[in-house]
Amino acid sequence: MKLILLKTILRDLLHRPWLTLLLIISVALGVAVVVAVDLANASATRAFELSTEVIVGKATHQIVGGAGGIDDGVYLHLRRDLGLRHIAPIVEGYVGAAELGGQTVRVLGIDLFAEPPFRTYITAGTNVSLDALSAFYTQPGAVLISADSAARYGLKTGDPITLQIGTTKKQITIVGLMQQPNDVSSRVLEGLVLTDIATAQELLDQNGRLSRIDLIATDAEAETIRQTLPAGLRLVRASEQADTVTQLTAAFRLNLTAFSLLALAVGMFLIYNTVMFSVVQRRRLLGILRCIGVTGREIFMLILAEAAVLGLIGSLLGLVLGIFLGRLTVALVTQTINDLYFTLSVSDVSIDALSLVKGLLLGIISALLAAALPAYEASSVPAVTVLQRSDLEDRIRRFLPSLNIFGVIMLAVGAGILVFGQSNISLLFVGVFLVLFGLVMYVPVLTIFVMRLATATIGRVGLTARMSSRTVVQALSRTSVAIASLMVAVAVTIGVTVMIASFRTTVENWLGQTLNADFYVSPPLSGANRIVSMDPALVERARAVEGVDAIEVLRSVTVAAQELGDVRLNATNGGRARESRIFRSFSGDPESIYPQLDAGAIAVTEPFANRHNVTEGSTVTLLTDKGARAFSIVGVYYDYSSDQGSILMSLDVYRQYWNDPAISGFSVYVAPGADVNQVEDGVRAALGGNDVVVQSNRALRDAALVIFDRTFAITQALRVIAVAVAFIGILSALMALQLERTRELGTLRATGMTLRQLWQLTLLESGLMGATAGVLAIPVGLILAAILIYVINLRSFGWTIFFTSVPEVYLQALLVSVTAALLAAIYPMLRLGRLQVVEALREE
């Protein structure tokens, strides 16, 4: 590339600061969203990996049991009788810690002497004093926390911490602080309360039971050990355990990434738009260059180089913005993961170099891709252009048929992927994008159609109206791109809104049908995929309260299923709750479902059936405390509480196979005629002294919906950004149009058109474009919503969502589009006011 050419084009950029700025902003916004989501995902994943590192350490395998854990004797046998040395007992659980910011923390109980081969986080530093270790070893309730956590919450050695454990509060004492030599591993220790194994057993009320046993062994050694294990225990690879948990959130994280890419895609439209405009603006300059001997190839490279430079600047800006946005996003992501999947504490966004590099490359590549077509257009500017008018629009119109064919192909391939793409979510999203862009290909044709319609209708009003619709068609190459970007953004908004609204309505209805008890009693700390326990004796105390008609008990645990890994199992003795479940499908007649459950069969939720590809008639083999047992499925029922799915079992059957008398919660039905509030107070009083949460039907329903809304908060945020990007798109497109028409407008002014009329013209053009985008966005948005509901959600999360129409959203879409378009017309209008007729005429 000749330096002088680069100088020519880059100096030209400085002469068009607005244009340059728009291009940079489009890239920056797109990159920022992608980087923000990527950073948030990476931070969440990294936090998870770090906590896994803490928990798993160097273990290659783990021995795990059912909800009740593992008997101490198993460890003793392995260590003492079999002489295994690389083996460590672990007792762990989640508790609330008031003094640690009220967050949920992990209590990890270890045996100091078994630890060395496994975990190094205490050993890495020398800051844990021997006095502290002595206390840690011998004192009940002695714990170590990280020095960073202590500093953050203003705690020091000797301070007490109150833990919320199940339904009780217990006090522990900090006997020492763990300091880490570097920043990364210190974050490992956050959210961790380290105790001696004896202390952990006592705190968590797990005396005589271990949560798991860690091993370092070859697969062959592990196999030998496996054979000595009693029934109900499993030996799994440590990595498998970690993988399972990562996979839990895979769909969620992928969905976020897809939405962020959508923002980038809208950004690409913008870049295309801006570069195309700059090419149009420079036809004369390019013509001169062609005349004096610059080849088409050089012009092509020149435009690409320009895009690359601006792409780089925009991407760098996007990185900064992305990191800032990432800090906001990570909180949302973490919250959702905590709500839906597992406990994760992410204190800060980790600036992952890979994410930044990815964002940078993505920004530059998008800029290059988006600039490729305009650059090609520029390279084919005939040299004679210096003396002639553009024939660009003619060419675009000749290109329309191929555009439509291209659209058909994209739609066909996209639809094919969606229908046959199974549950590969990445592939499904490729399908969504293909369908969306396939539809975009029709924007030019449809724009012409809508404008003809406009000419035929509002065109009768007057000359300006007729002129405006014709202008839109005349400048189709730029107007259609602007309309398309706005349309895509608004369509995404419609699609996502309709999907969320449908989902919410479905969940609301489901909650209404399912939550039929009057109030619910549970331990304070409950969350997805966590096992919480309370004393079964509380049930009897509640039952004795006057006005209590019936009580139904729930035991919710994670158990191991052969080939399926860990699965959630809900065991209830519910008589009334049964009536509320709605079965999607079942074997036999509906009356026989519950008798079959009582006889030892199970039912599964819809996500479970979809995820594991089972249905009524299939069997699921669960590893019970009595060994592996096959349970047959009698039915599949709707459930929206977890995308992992769960198994429903009769409580009696559960207790028959598992030695686990604990309960996870119970629901209370108030006798007819009794006052619900009075009974609730009575139950509260009866359970006094125990920390339980008593939630009314209403409160529980609201709480569920709060979590629901929180889950989609990030999607909403991304939606707003997509609209912002599209707004800038339409702004730049309009500015481009108006700037290009300076001479024409000058002429109009010279021939006697008033400024007012010109404003009218501009507003009309802009409004027409916005309206077109809005109108086109409605069907596209509905198609998108349908795909999200019937394909993406069903395949990636396994939920059937019932489509709910949201009429106001269409009006909103139209309003947003037109408003955005009209707002975008303001700058060109201001510029019109300053237009010097003579100057405008003299140009060219």
């Binding site: 000749k2 020519t8 005349c291 004096i292 001997g293 088409g296 040299a383 004679v384 003396l387």
Partner: protein, 247 residues
Amino acid sequence: MTSPNGNTPRAIPQTSLIRFENVTKMFQEGENERAVLQGVNGGIARGEFVAIVGRSGSGKSTLLNLLAGLDTPTCGDIYVGDTNVAKMSDHDRTLFRRKNIGFVFQFFNLIPTLTVRENVLMTAELSGWKDNDAQAQASRLLQAVGLLDRANVFPDKLSGGEQQRVAIARALCADPELILADEPTGNLDAETGARILELLTTLARKQGKTLVMVTHSNDVAARADRVLKMEHGKLAAVGPQVVESGT
């Protein structure tokens, strides 16, 4: 002297730098095709100063564009030296143009984002001159057009005449054999125009360049070695002096 239909080649100098044979150019206008040039033949000798005259729409600019390789004829051949420009690809034509042709336009067409010096040495740089050589050449030419002292200002600070002088320096900078000028005085007042013309012709002759100029001006045509007159897409007359009336 001239055949009525212009088909018979006449008075083509033996030492032609440029020969054009049976050159026809059609333009698409909606459904119809319109012939702007209809089988034009002719030639221009090395070192010759040829003026092309004719009414608006007579096809003189189209002919110039074809000679420059900016456009290709619908049919016919255009030889510059031994090269048939009409048969070359756009890319090759551009490279050919870059080396062999200098342009002077009516509206100057300087690149506003480059300084006077940069505008001038651009053509030399594009032709692959060494930087030092290009700089020296640019200085020499700016000296010749009397603007060396304005070398580092941007074109918008110059008057029309000055801009056109820069354009002349630019056209000569890569040392092309052929200078094509499209109404170089058309946008200037008479006095300035005369001076520019003087400068252009003097420099062209001094350096032995072939100069082809499209013009409306009789004064300009009067200075040419030969005048080609275009009428309705045909070469109406070729003569040492053709005085056109009515323009």
